[in-house]
């Protein structure tokens, strides 16, 4: 199948898409240097700045979450490839420019972690006041080295709210860590996407198969099985997540459903319906939810399901206002 995407020069894809993004949201974000997205109106001096980094091709994420109540800087890399340390350290310098401090939120992927570590070395050499949180909640991986999937959005949200309220770098860090520790994600894919630069499919899957445990970039997972109904899929995934997080009766959960790109909201509603009903029957409280496309993988079909155990403070922070291009609440 030939790739059917509206693109120009594949080599200029990222600067062009970011230019379009900035033109579409002029009141909210602008570009800083090469490929870094920042708020149009910077956060007040003295407050902790939130910085993230990661590859492009996952629009709206990660840059879609730059805005009051969430991120201050998003350093965007090439398609599916982490940005390099040189640009990350520039963003940190900016974030700390007035003697301020920054929380660097990194999703656990080899390239991002390498770039982040090199950046943190440089930041230490330069005496910048930065702490780093590594998100990793994909239960298809081994404890201690799990991939960071869409759960990062919850971390941006709660740490962003804390920072906006003037919390210290330490408190922001601890809030982010607590959110990270209490969340779990599992992905499923049913159809591959084409890589916009190579034009090739990013993985292969049989005509009647689905795969549970898919990575953020179409990296193959480990749970290949025959295609299931919405109810069955929801059930399989939710049970694995609940077991892994050790959810108990009476716990309060945040549930996120993140469409991979081509899976319709219609289908996500069906999945959500089953999740909500199952939680109800297990006397687990559905405290908050978000459903839509947050971090996509081009036009891949499938979705990520995240559950997170919320405490009163996390709920309060989740409920705070946010005004990012793709995450808005009053």
């Amino acid at each position: 199948m030939r790739m059917k995407k509206f693109i120009n020069d594949p080599k200029r894809l990222v600067p062009e898409l970011l230019e379009g993004f900035a033109l579409a949201f002029p009141a909210r974000i602008r570009l800083l240097g090469t490929n870094t997205v920042v708020r149009a109106t910077p956060k007040a001096a003295g407050k902790v700045r939130l910085v993230t980094l990661g590859g492009s091709g996952h629009e709206p994420g990660l840059s879609g979450f730059v805005g009051p109540g969430m991120l201050d800087y998003s350093v965007a890399g090439e398609i599916f490839a982490a940005p390099g340390a040189p640009r990350c350290i520039e963003a940190l310098r900016e974030a700390c420019r007035d003697g301020g401090s920054a929380l660097l939120i990194v999703l656990n992927h080899a390239g991002d972690v390498l770039a982040a570590n090199i950046t943190m070395e440089a930041a230490a050499r330069e005496g910048l006041n930065v702490k780093m949180v590594l998100t990793g909640e994909d239960i298809s991986g081994p404890v201690g080295d799990r991939r960071g999937l869409v759960g990062c959005v919850a971390v941006y949200k709660v740490a962003g709210a804390a920072a906006e309220q003037g919390a210290s770098l330490d408190s922001c860090f601890h809030v982010a860590e607590r959110m990270n520790r209490n969340m779990r994600t599992l992905a499923v894919a049913v159809r591959t996407a084409t890589h916009p630069a190579t034009g090739h499919p990013i993985f292969e899957l049989g005509d009647d198969e689905m795969e549970i445990g898919m990575g953020q970039h179409g990296e193959a997972g480990t749970g290949r099985m025959k295609l299931k109904t919405a109810d069955e899929t929801a059930e399989i995934m939710l049970e694995k997540l609940l077991a892994d997080l050790g959810v108990q009766q009476g716990d309060e959960l945040l549930v996120l459903l993140n469409g991979a790109g081509a899976t319709t909201l219609m289908e996500l509603y069906l999945i959500f319906r089953r999740v909500a009903r199952l939680l109800e029957s297990k006397k687990i409280k559905l405290a908050r939810s978000a459903i839509g496309e947050f971090i996509t993988t081009q036009e891949q079909a499938g979705f990520q399901m995240t559950i997170a155990r919320m405490d009163p403070e996390l709920i309060r922070l989740w409920d705070e206002p946010a005004d990012a291009p793709f995450f808005f609440q009053a």
């Binding site: 590859g55 770039a115 570590n117 890589h195 630069a197 190579t198 993985f203 970039h217 990296e219």
Partner: protein
Amino acid sequence: MTGCISKAELGKMFAQAAELIRDRSELLSHLDSQCGDGDHGTTMTRAMEFLENAIGPANRQTVSEMFREAGWGVMGVDGGASGALLGSFIAGMGDPPSGDEMDCKGLSACFGAGLRLVQNRTKARPGDKTMMDALVPAVEAFSASAENGKDLSEAMRGAAEAAESGAESTRNMVARYGRARYLGDKTLGCADAGATSIALLFRGFSLALVTKKES
């Protein structure tokens, strides 16, 4: 010369390696798509095109400054995992102080320092099915040749061969680092993309020096 290398030669080495990698870009992406995200070819091409421009006689810095900046610069092309590690290797090559020319031992010291910086940044070791399976034997082979007084082009051929057999050996390994690490036994059977491109890097270096000698 049989034992000395200037910025001009370094420029040719990187140009030749860039050409090989550009030509094999599709293959590299294909290998990456088996266990990773299918972009290694485009990433390495971008990185090598940067290095090709950054390293050579047009550069007015000292060789060590040139390596340090080029290494940092290659990280800036957003090359994901391999960009960060390749960048570290090149940046590390700038650690030993060096003049305008190097002999075989001098280059060996650079390679050794580059490898050390990479090893600071990843826990992956040979056997883990990463670029280390090509990089470590290549650097070791080059160092052994330098110790034994072999000439540059012979030493580089040895390094390229070591990198290639290292890359080849990744076929029978289970990935323990990088995106592929979650796939377990499913990674058996295909060569690691990063190791394959390191083999191409050293093969390019070697071709550049052979051509030079024969001409």
